[in-house]
Structures are given as structure tokens and as C-alpha cells.
């Protein structure tokens, strides 16, 4: 094949008169070898002969082209002199653009590629409360930070806390819930507790249930803290100590600086829901079975005043009020039964609305 190539090269070199004496002899020898060789040579010759004609450009438009050329040269020279002035500025611009691009890329990379943080919540001057993906509820004190990674969805529900947080953990026996502070690990299955991480002191206070509390990475320091107990870890002494909760209001911070709580205190009717049924008993008294549900997150209400409107028809109504003294805790539902003094009335409707309520102000950790 290679030989074949060089043979073609020799033929064409011969045709273009580039072949020296030796080459020419070799070619003639090759031609004498076979009919096939001579045929190839004839083909080449035909090709050579038929490829000599040149295309001719009929209208080179020399003068037009000259004008175009001179214009182009003028433009290029102008651009060149301008460029030499503009060059340093433009270069600086490019550098700035490159820097911005790098910063943006790294920020993007940090946010999107950093596998560490999936969720992060930092509070300023107001308490925040929110739910975690497992329906656990968290209150985050002011100037605190809570974050978790994708690992939260794995074997442990693990969150990292700076500052103070109150956790109401949804029970899940298979996936312990862990709160990591700088120095301690708190592990639970499903309870309510408060973790407060200060500079050197981390305090755990338990509202309800059992909580395991340990210095991070030292399982032997683990203590079991139960309802109304608290435990502390001091980074200087590196010891975990346990005791009864002395400060009953350890979780009351949730009500300070908390716009949600303020709303709950101000707009009571929005958080107290009421429903009832009624019927006449054998002595024609109207028996009302009602339920009051407290949908607030923190506030306990008491002395709920219900405004009852009843009567035979729309233009013959009577009004009375019930006061439900018992406290209604957040998320709780309270059932009551009352009767109306309407033995002599053909009551055809009973309407009840929440008129007012009082807040339970004393700190209630539960």
C-alpha cells in the first residue's frame, strides 16, 4: 500500500516535472512491468490534462475593491489607535468580571455542592417556631441557630444547635432524635425538652419523657434525664451533672420576643375553636354539648366566655353567657356540657361564639 502511495507520488511528480533522473527511470521500469500500471499512468495523465484549466473571475471590480480596502484600512487604523488607549481599562474590566464570576461560582458551589447543610434557621431578635420534616416541633430562642444535613433523613434525626432551643419530638422508636451542641449530644426517642448551649455551659431540661445526655464523643459520660430533671455539662470541668429542675420557667423564653405568642395573646378568638350540639331533654331544657379546641402553639387559655344566642325565631332571641373556667392547653380540646333555662320556649336555634378568654400567665413548662 505504501509502495502504491509512493508510486502515485512518483507519477504526479513526473507529470509536474518534479522527478529527477533516477525517479524517472524507476517510473519507466514500473510502467514496463504491467498493463495495469500503464493504465494507472494513463488515468493520471488524463486527470492531469483535464485539471489545468483555471476558473476566471470575470468581474474582479478592482476599483470598487480598492475603495473598500482603503476604507477598511482606515477603520482598522482608527480601531487600533482607540484600542491602544482603551486597552488598560478594558483589561481591568475583564479582571473585575473574572473576579465576580469566581466569587459567584464559589458561592454557588458552597450553597449547592456543599453536602453539609440542608436546612438552616437562624433567629435574630425574635423567637421562631417551626416544624422539622419528621413533624417534630422546634422553638428557637433569639440569636440561635439550628441546622441539619441530609443525614437527618437517615439513621438518626440529627440536628445541630447553637444557642437555645425547645424540642417537642415526634416519637419514632427506630430513629433516635439527636441534638448536637458544641460539647454535648442529647438523644431521645420522643419527648419534650429544652437545650441551652452557652459559652461553657450546656443545660438540658426535660419537660416530659426520657432523654439521654452526654458529652459529644464520650458515650461513658451519658446520663439519663427524665421528667422535671435537668443536666448540665461544663466544658471547663468536663463533667455532666444531673439534678431536679429548679428553674420551673426554663422554657418560658419561648413566650418572649415571640411574635406568634404575641398574636396568640392578642387575637384570642382566632385560636379558640368551638363546636357544639344541642337537644331538648325530657323536661324541655336545652342540653348543649360543646367542645373548645385551642390551636395556639404556646398559650394556655382559661375563663373562656361563650356567648350563647338562642330563641324561637330570629326576632325573638335571648342571650346568655357561659364561662368555662378550666384551662385549655395548647393543642388540647375541652369538652363541656351546659343547659339552658328555656323550658317554656320552643327553641329552634342555638348559636355559640367565643366572646373572650384569659391567658394563663404563670410559666408552665408543660
Amino acid at each position: 500500500m505504501n509502495d502504491h502511495h509512493s508510486q502515485e507520488a512518483a507519477i504526479i511528480a513526473y507529470l509536474s516535472n518534479e522527478l529527477d533522473e533516477g525517479g524517472r527511470l524507476a517510473l519507466e521500469f514500473w510502467l514496463a512491468e504491467s498493463e495495469e500500471h500503464r493504465r494507472i499512468f494513463q488515468e493520471a495523465k488524463a486527470l492531469w490534462k483535464n485539471s489545468g484549466k483555471k476558473l476566471v473571475l470575470h468581474h474582479p471590480d478592482t476599483e470598487t475593491e480598492l475603495v473598500r480596502l482603503l476604507e477598511r484600512i482606515k477603520k482598522e487604523e482608527a480601531a487600533h489607535s482607540k484600542n491602544s488607549h482603551a486597552f488598560p481599562g478594558r483589561r481591568l474590566l475583564w479582571r473585575v468580571a473574572a473576579c465576580i464570576l469566581v466569587v459567584m461560582l464559589s458561592v454557588y458551589g458552597y450553597i449547592h455542592l456543599n453536602p453539609a447543610v440542608e436546612f438552616e434557621r437562624t433567629t435574630g431578635d425574635q423567637v421562631a417556631s417551626f416544624y422539622l420534616p419528621d413533624s417534630s416541633r422546634v422553638w428557637l430562642n433569639t440569636h440561635s441557630r439550628l441546622s441539619y444535613t441530609k443525614a437527618f433523613h437517615g439513621e438518626f434525626r440529627r440536628v445541630t444547635l447553637q444557642g437555645e432551643g425547645y424540642f417537642k419530638v415526634t416519637p419514632d422508636a427506630n430513629r433516635p432524635f439527636e441534638v448536637i451542641t458544641g460539647a454535648t449530644t442529647t438523644r431521645v426517642l420522643g419527648t419534650s425538652f429544652n437545650v441551652k448551649a452557652e459559652d461553657t455551659l450546656t443545660t438540658l431540661s426535660v419537660t416530659e419523657g426520657k432523654v439521654k445526655f452526654a458529652a459529644t464523643g464520650e458515650p461513658e459520660s451519658e446520663v439519663l434525664v427524665t421528667t422535671h430533671e435537668h443536666a448540665t455539662f461544663h466544658t471547663r470541668q468536663k463533667t455532666v451533672t444531673k439534678g431536679e429542675v429548679t428553674d420551673v420557667g426554663f422554657a418560658s423564653w419561648r413566650k418572649r420576643n415571640n411574635p406568634i405568642y404575641e398574636e396568640e395573646a392578642r387575637n384570642i378568638k382566632a385560636f379558640l375553636h368551638h363546636q357544639h350540639t344541642w337537644k331538648k331533654n325530657p323536661i324541655r331544657q336545652t342540653i348543649i354539648n360543646g367542645r373548645i379546641r385551642n390551636t395556639a402553639s404556646l398559650t394556655t387559655y382559661k375563663n373562656v366566655v361563650l356567648l350563647v344566642t338562642y330563641g324561637k325565631s330570629a326576632d325573638a332571641t335571648r342571650v346568655t353567657r357561659f364561662t368555662i373556667v378550666e384551662p385549655v392547653k395548647p393543642g388540647q380540646e375541652l369538652a363541656y356540657q351546659r343547659r339552658l333555662v328555656d323550658t317554656f320556649t320552643d327553641t329552634s336555634f342555638v348559636r355559640i361564639v367565643v366572646e373572650s378568654a384569659e391567658l394563663v400567665l404563670e410559666d408552665d413548662a408543660r
Binding site: E8, S16, E18, L55
Partner: protein, 189 residues
Amino acid sequence: MQDLSEKNFQDLFRQHHRELCNMAYNLVNDPDAAKDIVQEVFAKLWAGRDHLDLDGPIKHYLFKATAHTAYNHLRFQKKILRLHDHVTDDTLHAHPGTDRVEFTELEHHVRQAIDNLPPQCKTIYMLNRQEGMKYQEIADVLRLSPKTVENQMGIALEKLRVALKPFITLKSFAALALVGWVCYYLLSL
């Protein structure tokens, strides 16, 4: 000639424009591109007029520069040109002008085959065949080794032969048949 005033420059342009255009046109087969190539050559000449260092007539420089620029054009415009292969047809038949070069059918096919060669191959072949440049000169212009030029010429021939087989073999068969018939006739006498 080394002192290139604007007047000289314009004369130079008028003097060589036509043949340079023709040469570029032959290589790239596109009238507008050919004109642009020549513009390019002269613009560069003007831009570099202060550093001009020629070891021969300026005409040679212009030829070489045009050849090289056309070669570059072929290399980088290759894909675009491929889409316009039929251009050959148009340019050969669309304007049957008075001084139009008439192509025989075979020449026309050869021309098409040449246009389909790879850019380097085509440029080398055309420069050699049509501009009559020596291998060494082509090597200088395209900055290749003479050996490469020689090889490329061989490759060009081979590719052309393959592409044009139907047209040239028919002819040679006819010639062979003629020869055979003559021999037969002589023998039978």
C-alpha cells in the same frame, strides 16, 4: 519597492488585483471569498509596511500571501463550503460570459473532484498544477516540508483517480478497445 507610499500601494493593488483574485478564486471557488482574501492580503501588507522585509519582488510576496490566506480560508471554511458543493455547477454554467473558460464535461467532473479534496491536498495540487509552483515553493508558502507536498500530491492523484474512475476508465477502455481492434485488424491481414 521597499518604500511603500500610499500611491505606490494603490498602484500595486490595481496592478495585481485581477490575477490574485483569480488565483484565490481558483482555490476557494467563491468569488466573494476570493475578493475578501485579496483584501486581507493587502490590508496586512499595509499594516506591516514599516516592517516589510522582502527577499524578492513584491509580486512573489503577494502570490505567496494570497495562496496562504486562501489555504487558511479553505481549512477553516471547509464545513461551510461543503454545504455549497453545487457552487461549482453555478459558477461553471450560470454566467456564460464572453471570455468564459469553457469546460469539457470531463474537466468539469475533474474540477468537482478537486473541490472535494481535503483543503491541504487541494491547495497543494492547485498550486502545482494551475499556478505552476514547484514543490519547494509550495512547501515554503504553506510552511510544510517538501516531502509532505510530494506525498500530498500522490494522495491527491489517488483520490482523484478513485473519484473519477467512471469517467476516465471509460475513456481508456475505449482507447484499449480501439488498440485491440487495430491489432486484431493488422493480425488478420
